[in-house]
Amino acid sequence: MIEVKGVSKAYGGKPVVDNVSLTIREGCVTSFIGPNGAGKSTLLSIISRLLQKDGGEVLIDGRDVAQWKSTELAKKISILKQSNHVNLRLTVRELVSFGRFPYSQGKLTKEDWSKVDEAIAYMDLSDLQHKFLDQLSGGQNQRAFIAMVIAQNTDYILLDEPLNNLDMKHSVQIMKVLRRLTEELGKTIIIVIHDINFASCYSDYIVALKDGRIVKEGPTETIIDSAVLQHIYDMDIPIELINGNRIGVYFK
């Protein structure tokens, strides 16, 4: 279980995350939504220890993040940021094999390689596994990085805007994979996402942030609601029920 207690972070005196407390449910997809500058990505980075917090605590399985041994924590929680440019010339398979580092410290065993193969198959990358990353499209690259995270095989997977720059087909493909990961492998997934309709269709819980604070959190259907969204985004978002999904029609 991930518990966030009174976490704050300020840049140059301006609070970006302001006294946020939150409990993440296990085995679910939780989405962080909110306008630009709401502190979603910052909160995600703090939970995953990429950023130091100014105050409060983050408990993972009851233990403070700072007290975990780095290697042990890397077997529990993984994070993928939105820009994943890597300076190296790596093949997909080599990249995915980095996901096994917390287990093997660089000396991969047979078991590690079979996990790598599984992750590659899971992301449907078998045909591309010997291609170099710079030969791939944005969507294929994103899939390769997600495969690395799958190979890392952590209970908690945090993704910062995984659909950034992807077309509809690849977005749907990645969201479906995330659902499969929770349903088949019992992973707990937290994503930062801008498209409220993707959040609505694929997440179990939604946490809405604005100006560094949590405005409202709860099961998806309680957040994807005109009145609630009006408060979060300061705009009128009518909600329609289409094929059982709550869809915000905000384009006009």
Partner: protein, 313 residues
Amino acid sequence: MKLKLTLLAALAAAVIIAFLFVDLPHNWDYALPRRLKKVLAIALTGGAIAYATLIFQTMTNNRILTPNIIGLDSLYMLIQTFVIFAFGVVSLPSTNQNVNFGLTVGIMLLFVGVLYRLIFKREGNNLFFLLLVGLVMGTMFGSMSTFMQVLIDPNDFLIVQGKMFASFNNVNTKLLLLSVIVIAGVALYASRFSKYLDVLSLGKEHAVNLGIPYNFVVKNLLVIVAILIAVSTALVGPIAFLGLLVVNLAYQFMRTYRHRILIPGSMLISIIALVGGQLIVEQVFTFETTVSVIINFIGGAYFLYLLLRESKA
């Protein structure tokens, strides 16, 4: 991969043998030990510089940086200039190599220590901020040296000028031995971080995600780089520029990201370049130029090529 390493090792051995035996005079019992000592100094500093540059580039995720940027070369020149400016050419720190070596290494490490404390004490410890401060300090040291150089006697300046270029011709045996011990010790200490290097080259966020104690590792590597550069510079003079050349050549030649291969590869290339360069200096130019002139010329041209290629990509 193994084949390429073997090839490099064979080439390095060939260059070293050529250096030792080409044109060996009849009274070889004098010349050979001198040449052996020189080759040892070259291999030691060449290897240390290659290794330091490689891990520095890995740490910063930047293939056109060298550890030079912290300003150690400029500090070395400042110390050498100041010694002559303040105490004169015949003073103890100027003439006694042991004193000079100790003084130089001491001050360089002190400088890195201060820089490091100042920057990593504050929160948001940023490696690039440290590099920027080092760059500014390096420029300041350079200006101060120039200032003193224009004031001193032209004859004294010739002595200073002699220190501006790396030279393997007068390496002190005792200091060489000491450097071997220090560098071997540092290398042994560094080996415990070697498993992290591949992951570090993915960048900070991936490294943290994969469970590397990032700050701890980077701080330690920085100290390792500083010691290696300080000792090699104090031993033979400023040669850190060489690192950029050989590490990039190693990347191009080995075509891998694995440090297990890149480390020996870049060290061997470094040794080939330095021993080969010195061989050319001695046999072709008959000591009329120095090896650093040759290396700076080739290195500069290669650096331009890198910049042009990066801007195209």
